[in-house]
């Protein structure tokens, strides 16, 4: 199960927070701070998986950094780390396709669309869909027509995002 999904920038400002398990608001703030502190202190050569006990006993923090944004999934021991790592890539590519070269401002001003895209991928802490084309098609059908992006070349979208390992 996925307990929580976060996106925050390299200054620690949260751009998306989604919890799939009930947590007190004060604990949410503390959790975000601790995860940011753990993740931001890691070097580029460090592993993308962290063991933690921040939520509901033992769990894992799986993260990837794209430019100045950290995408963090907090999962239980039943989830595959490599699978979640791949899921983060699917989520980022879905954002990139829906927003045409997504940037941090899109996360700030289009948070409803971001949540709608995420809801196509994860629901109730469980992975719903991993096919990128299905996710993008479902998300775009929900977006207002005037704000839909045009057809995108996969090569140009991925070139705008590099991954750190």
């Amino acid at each position: 199960m996925i307990y929580a999904i976060f996106i925050f920038n390299n200054k620690g400002n949260p751009r998306l927070t989604k919890f799939y398990t009930p947590i007190e608001e004060s604990d949410q703030q503390r959790l975000l701070g601790e995860i940011y502190y753990s993740v931001s202190n890691r070097t580029a050569a460090s592993c993308n998986f962290l063991e933690s006990s921040l939520i509901a006993g033992k769990n894992r923090i799986i993260y990837r950094q794209y430019a100045t944004l950290y995408f963090v999934f907090v999962v239980d021991e039943g989830e595959s780390e490599l699978g979640i790592l791949d899921l983060i890539q699917v989520f980022v590519e879905a954002l990139d396709r829906c927003f045409n070269n997504v940037c941090e401002l899109d996360l700030v001003f289009k948070f409803q669309e971001i949540h709608a895209i995420l809801a196509e991928i994860v629901s109730g802490g469980l992975v719903l869909e991993t096919n990128l084309n299905e996710i993008v098609a479902a998300s775009k059908s929900q977006m207002p027509k005037s704000k839909r992006s045009g057809g995108l070349n996969i090569g140009t979208t991925l070139s705008s995002f590099a991954t750190r390992f």
Partner: protein, 238 residues
């Protein structure tokens, strides 16, 4: 213009005006072009921040220092609180990297009540440095262009990206006095559960009692008097 400002600060000849010219396309008014020795402290300029979501007129303040420690102490003092609250981002320009200055900026930023993005803008083209990582201070080499191997923008584009995500509006809550207490938040006016239960029980007893009407009226008046400060009388209802 009622948005926060960008503070551009550095030593003399550290590239402050070069940055302002590159950012806005024009030089600040009041700049003395005939002399290279004139201090740039106190100059101001205007900049229009534009992106696909908003457009904002943001003012630029230029300041110059000879002793960074004293300058940062002044900015951190209580007298400068309003100035700090009016700043949305700080650009610290330098030609040669000095670890002590970098450390002073880190300490200054750590102690700020509301964090302000601070960019250490290296204006020298001939050398690159790798300062220690800091959550408060970001190093940007001004003359770099394009993106690095991680897809991060470089140079002036990175500075613009930082500006896009800064808070430029004044938070209305910042001006609220800390001594202000909302009515009803005072604990002496709040009722805990036991007091509330006692009141409800009194009302129930009065309602269910077998007393005659005059006696019940007296008890009701005495009950109301216990709730209000003034002496309540039946004639007050008219």
């Amino acid at each position: 213009m009622d948005s926060k400002r960008i503070l551009v600060i550095g030593k003399s000849k550290s590239g402050k005006v070069t940055f302002v010219k590159a950012l806005t396309g024009t030089l600040p008014s009041g700049l003395n072009l005939t002399s290279n020795e004139t201090s740039h402290a106190g100059l101001s300029h205007e900049y229009t921040l534009k992106n696909k979501y908003f457009q904002k007129e943001v003012g630029l303040w230029i300041d110059e220092y000879t002793n960074l420690e004293e300058t940062l102490e002044a900015y951190a003092s209580e007298d400068a609180k309003e100035v700090i609250n009016a700043i949305g981002a700080i650009i610290y320009t330098f030609r040669s990297y000095e670890p002590q200055e970098w450390s002073l900026w880190n300490t200054f930023s750590e102690n700020l009540k509301n964090p302000i993005p601070i960019v250490g803008l290296h204006m020298d083209t001939s050398s690159m440095v790798v300062p220690p990582d800091s959550p408060y201070l970001e190093y940007v080499a001004f003359f770099q262009t394009g993106k690095n191997e991680f897809g991060e923008k470089l140079g002036l584009e990175r500075v613009l990206e930082i500006f896009d995500c800064c808070e430029w509006d004044f938070d209305s809550n910042e001006n609220v006095s800390e001594d202000f207490v909302l009515p009803g938040k005072d604990s002496s006016m709040s009722l805990d559960d036991s007091e509330l239960n006692a009141l409800v029980n009194q009302v129930k007893q009065l309602r269910g009692s077998d007393l005659d009407i005059q006696e019940r009226k007296k008890q009701a008046i005495s009950f109301i008097n216990s709730l209000v400060d003034e002496r309540f009388q039946e004639s007050d209802l008219n």
